[in-house]
């Protein structure tokens, strides 16, 4: 795998920018905040995949492009900085593909990974449950052994876009909870979202969007071939996946379209405040890039993705309030574009510091890593 040098990365970045400029000129999307979650557009995902920008780090023999982590990072941050609609393929590209490549069977890799890389096969995550949030080991969804596979019963919640995806990766208990070893007896299964026994209901959130869903599983049959890796290996897999989930630029770019628009339309009275937000956003980019360089070199500090997510999402909150304050002082208020982005961002903001691991939990992870014996 030959990594691009700095000038190669710049060329790649500018290619993505040109593509996005053309898309915008053609009116295929409008920048929105949180586009990696709210902007579900299968046709856009396919166009990206056609250019080799989905599944970039996957091996070529599974439909990927053998590119290193930093190139994927550069492409993705360009997409998010303009609020492009990448939600359809985001989960599969970010974590399910890597999960299967690391822990899946050869049959699973061949059957699923190429579809993800083609921007055609969409995946939803089935981890949280009504009674299971930060304490992931407490999942109750149970898979019981039957002939040739498992029967799954339980309820998954906060499952983004399950109603628009093909597969659900569900974390389930395959053995009863053992209080001495809470992380044992957990397994991840690939559930076909067309299977019998599934009821998917949208959950409307305060933004008015309903990309979250509740997925009820009643005696859903999952064949043995759809167990990811080994039975009982779920906790280890999930821990690895969560690092992927936290390391991306979405953790500080959800509000970037708003900041950019605000800078473009504010007056001199806002210079100090917007300059200070710009400076901190710059620092977040540097830290995020560092994490991805570490992933590429295999030297990443385990606490770093958690720290970056904590810092980045906190900055996103401050960005919204500061920009609101800037325009609240102005006679006519913000223009139409900033007003709409402010509206979207304000309503979406409680979720920034909750999803991908609530910040308070992540801080515990950081401290644990800082105080670990050397």
């Amino acid at each position: 795998m030959n990594a691009l040098d700095d000038s190669g990365l710049r060329t790649l970045r500018l290619e993505v920018r040109d593509f996005l400029a053309a898309e915008r000129a053609a009116g295929t999307f409008t920048p929105i905040c949180d586009s990696w979650l709210e902007g579900h557009d299968p046709a856009f995902s396919r166009r990206l995949a056609d250019r080799g920008w989905v599944g970039m780090t996957f091996p070529a023999r599974y439909g990927g492009h053998d590119r290193p982590a930093l190139e994927r990072f550069v492409v993705n941050e360009e997409l998010l900085a303009v609020g492009a609609p990448v939600a359809a393929h985001w989960i599969g590209d970010r974590q399910t593909g890597p999960l299967l490549l690391r822990f899946g069977t050869e049959a699973q890799r061949s059957a699923i990974v190429p579809g993800i890389a083609a921007g055609e096969l969409f995946v939803a995550i089935g981890m949280s449950e009504p009674d299971t949030g930060s304490d992931l080991a407490s999942v109750k969804t149970r898979a019981r052994r039957v002939d040739g596979g498992w029967l799954v019963n339980g309820t998954k919640v906060w499952t983004s876009h399950a109603h628009r995806s093909h597969l659900l990766v569900a974390l389930v208990r395959t053995a009863d909870l053992d209080r001495e070893q809470r992380h044992a007896g957990l397994t991840q299964l690939i559930v076909d979202l067309d299977a019998d026994g599934l009821t998917i209901s949208p959950i409307e959130v305060m933004t008015g969007e309903a990309h979250f869903t509740e997925v009820v599983l009643e005696d859903v049959f999952v064949p043995d071939e759809m167990v990811i890796g080994d039975v009982g290996d779920g906790w280890r897999q999930v821990t690895s996946e969560l690092a992927n989930e936290r390391s991306g630029p979405e953790r500080f770019l959800s509000t970037f379209p708003l900041l950019d628009a605000a800078i473009g339309s504010a007056d001199a009275a806002a210079d100090v405040r917007l300059g200070s937000l710009a400076a901190r956003t710059w620092a977040m980019h540097l830290l995020s890039e560092e994490v991805n360089r570490g992933i590429q070199d295999g030297t990443v500090d385990p606490a770093a993705p958690a720290l970056v997510k904590d810092l980045g999402t906190s900055l996103e909150h401050e960005t919204i309030e500061t920009i609101r304050g800037v325009f609240a002082e102005v006679e006519d208020g913000p223009g139409r574009v900033v007003a709409e982005l402010l509206r979207q961002a304000t309503l979406a903001s409680p979720a920034f510091t909750l999803r991908g691991g609530t910040n308070e939990i992540l801080r515990g992870i950081v401290v644990k890593s800082l105080t670990a014996p050397a």
Binding site: R10, R13, L14, R17, E77, E78, A81, F256, L259, D260, I263, G264, A266, D267, A268, A270, D271, V272, R273, L274, G275, S276, A278, A279, R280, T281, W282, A283, M284, H285, L286, L287, E290, L307, D310, L311, E360, R363, G364, V366, V367, L370, T371
Partner: protein, 340 residues
């Protein structure tokens, strides 16, 4: 960091290992012994060309030493002497013996009395290099401090920041093109001192939280304390990342000056936010102990806060960046991503 810079970092750590951050207030001032050892090791003339008796080192080398001084809390005019020596070197002049500091000033009006304010370590210095804005260039004046009336002042940490009054403007000894480069360099040195101090604040905080026991366990076990420890760590990491990028830009001649200045501005802005965040969280973790003068914490926190106001306030630097973005050619995203 290069191998040589790692060696330099180790050298500085060993030299300053005995320095305990202490309040620099009430005229306690300059730590003469530490300054002398830095001088003897050639670390106070890094930017002076070799032909003029210095090391001819790069700004990246100086950055290593500045971080170390900030970390160890040494009360020494390293930033002042380094900048002054570098400026004199560019005018093809040797640095005078003793301590040389600097002052920035607007254009002099005629030949009457002048007052230079915010002069770091003015009272301890033998000479002062005055950087005077003059149209599109900077006049460089050089004066003996003994010719001045010195009015002693202090920053928030009690470090000497003085006013020097001269009967007439000192002699001009040279000139530099533009203003922003040398002003930016002074600001950059300040950010590096802050970044070093922040590393110290983080380490003190983490160590304290692990050692201090209440309710039968180290306080680091409590989630509320963990939040504070991470707040400090996040602030420190942010400052480190942005000052690293700033130093890289400052030694990259291919970059336009405006971009280097933007990164200095970003660094000063971030380091101020980091200073306030880390100081508040660190003191909260340390409880009453950290509030006393017996404990080293306050010496480091008051410095990192004080330095927000020197060589341009953080607000002025934030304004610089905000104004550049609002009026300039380059959107923020292009600036951050160095493309095109």
């Amino acid at each position: 960091m290069s191998e040589e810079q790692r060696g330099l970092e180790d050298l500085v750590d060993r030299m300053l290992a005995g320095v305990e951050p202490r309040p620099a207030r009430h005229g306690a001032g300059l730590d003469g012994a530490t300054w002398q050892s830095l001088q003897a090791a050639g670390l106070t003339t890094l930017l002076v060309p070799e032909a003029l008796g210095g090391s001819g080192a790069t700004f990246a080398d100086l950055a290593v030493v500045l971080r170390g001084v900030g970390y160890h809390g040494a009360v020494v005019p390293l930033a002042e002497a380094s900048l002054a020596g570098g400026v004199l070197g560019r005018c093809d002049l040797e640095t005078p013996a003793g301590i040389t500091t600097y002052a920035f000033t607007p254009p002099a009006r005629g030949r009457g009395p002048v007052v230079y304010s915010k002069v770091g370590y003015g009272r301890a210095a033998d000479h002062v290099v005055v950087l005077e804005a003059d149209g599109d260039r900077t006049l460089v004046r050089l004066a003996a401090v003994s010719d001045a009336e010195v009015e002693a002042g202090e920053n928030l940490a009690g470090e000497p920041v003085d006013r020097l009054a001269f009967a007439a403007p000192p002699d001009v000894v040279g000139a530099l093109d533009g203003h922003s480069e040398v002003w930016g360099q002074a600001a950059a040195c300040r950010a590096l001192l802050q970044a070093g101090a922040l590393e110290r604040i983080h380490e003190l905080t983490l160590a304290y939280a692990n050692e201090r026991e209440q309710f039968g366990r180290p306080i680091v076990r409590f989630q509320a304390v963990q939040q504070m420890v991470v707040a400090t760590y996040g602030a420190t990491s942010s400052a480190r990342a942005v000052t690293d990028a700033m130093v890289d830009a400052l030694v990259d001649d291919r970059l336009p000056a405006a971009r280097r200045l933007a990164l200095i501005a970003a660094a000063r802005s971030v380091c101020a936010w980091s200073a306030a965040t880390a100081a508040r969280s660190a003191h909260q973790v340390h409880g009453a102990m950290g509030f006393t003068t017996e404990h080293p914490l306050h010496a480091v926190t008051t410095r990192v806060l004080a330095w927000r106001d020197q060589d341009g306030t953080d607000a002025a630097w934030s304004r610089h960046l905000g104004s550049e973005l609002r009026r300039g050619e380059r959107p923020l995203w292009e600036l951050i991503t160095r493309a095109p």
